[in-house]
């Protein structure tokens, strides 16, 4: 199926926490099958037994729920809110999910993923709302607010700088036109369609350029890592 048909721009209003908020997963299930198969996708799963065990108060089921979703919830919270107090936020979110399941707020167990997503999104909204109010309250006292630093900690910034150094070398090794194409896409966030139209490129040429640059970036990163390991061994 052509990728252009994967995304339809449809506005949907926010729904209360119930199964209606979950995705049109049947449509999405047909998409990207070849790539999914190649990527070794996790097998399809029924959530009903797990949800029933959680409702019954089974602690092993709660452990299984945590094991299944904790990494994804942590990842989402970190992307949206930064790494500050991450474990506390994860714990709070997980608690809300479990309590809501035990209160029978999840009517269709097979919609568990949509349900968890909704809870996580609402938690993020609540944290942001709280941070904004706290910052407002403290403005007069000139105390720093609790707005998370989404730029990351010094270690993360150092990693970005290191990768940027590699990227500079990659960009230095391609033509000015190719550099312009990639800059339009990654820096100015122009769409593939616009870039291809304005720069007389086919979709294939565009994708090839992107993947070559990424491959080169990956190779140079690995080489740098390997050089680092060799130096460490010598020490």
């Amino acid at each position: 199926m052509p990728e252009a048909s994967e995304w339809s721009v449809v506005e949907t209003p926010e729904q209360p926490v119930d199964e209606t908020e979950s995705s049109n997963s049947e449509q999405n299930g047909k998409l990207g099958a070849d790539e999914a198969a190649a990527a070794g996708s996790p097998p399809a799963r029924s959530w009903t037994p797990l949800v029933e065990q959680i409702r019954a108060g089974n602690s092993e089921a709660m452990t299984e729920l945590y094991r299944t979703f904790s990494r994804g919830i942590r990842y989402y919270l970190c992307r949206q809110l930064g790494s500050q107090d991450l474990e506390d936020k994860l714990h709070d979110t997980f608690l809300i999910v479990v309590q809501a399941i035990q209160r029978d707020e999840l009517r269709d167990p097979e919609k568990l993923m949509g349900f968890v997503r909704t809870v996580v999104r609402r938690q993020v909204a609540a944290y942001i709302d709280d941070a904004v109010h706290t910052r407002r309250d403290f403005t007069d006292l000139e105390v720093g607010g609790r707005v998370p630093d989404i730029r990351g900690n010094p270690e993360q910034r150092a990693m970005v700088d290191e990768k940027a150094e590699i990227m500079t070398k990659v960009l230095g090794g391609i033509s000015r036109r190719d550099r312009e194409i990639l800059t339009r896409f990654y820096l100015y966030e122009q769409t593939q369609e616009q870039i291809c139209e304005e720069m007389a490129l086919t979709e294939t040429q565009f994708r090839l350029l992107k993947s070559r640059a990424k491959a080169r970036f990956g190779e140079m990163g690995k080489r740098k890592l390997e050089r680092g390991r060799i130096l460490l061994r010598k020490v």
């Binding site: 990728e3 994967e6 995304w7 339809s8 721009v9 449809v10 949907t12 908020e21 979950s22 995705s23 049109n24 997963s25 049947e26 999405n28 299930g29 998409l31 990207g32 099958a33 790539e35 999914a36 990527a39 070794g40 996708s41 996790p42 097998p43 399809a44 959530w47 979703f69 990494r71 994804g72 990842y75 989402y76 097979e110 993923m113 949509g114 968890v116 997503r117 996580v120 990693m159 970005v160 700088d161 990768k163 940027a164 590699i166 990227m167 500079t168 990659v170 960009l171 990639l182 800059t183 990654y186 820096l187 100015y188 966030e189 122009q190 616009q194 304005e198 007389a200 990424k214 970036f217």
Partner: protein, 189 residues
Amino acid sequence: MTNNYSHCLTDTQLEDYAFGRVSPEAVADVEEHLLVCSDCQDRLQAEEEYIAAFRVAARTAQRPVQWYKPLAAAACLVMAVGLWLPFSSTKVDSVDLRAERGGVLAPAATAVAGHKLELRVDLAGLESRNTARLQIVNATGAPLAETRLDGTSVAPMWTLNRKLGAGTYWVRAYDSGGKQLREFKLDVE
């Protein structure tokens, strides 16, 4: 039973999600999958790190080279005189911003730094698109000036009120809804 747990996300889906281009309806599919698939989480993180590294590198590459600073101390007076003269000039340069023709990419327009510029913007082919305004931005995308169009001309003239320093600029044409219709590159030297 239907859920999206069984299919990993394609590279394009991850890219669109990283850029925030996924529709509200489709984003639920993506985020639900990301809740449970560690492979896709890793791939998304790698994609975002790649984009972040590119942006830092691209912005750094667009900054002027500073290796001449020690020499600039000795040549400061000469440079000051050399810079003053162009900026005191009332000369107006005409610059043609042309769109591509027949699939051949039009080269970037060029102009001289410090000169007053009159831009002739090629809007041929956009007659039905209601081009409403032009905007000029610098290399980091920061808007510098803007002008409204009456939509009657396919080659409107725009005299910039400010003089541009050396660098790369983009002149963009938008319709009344804010959608970008065309873009022209302007190298000022």
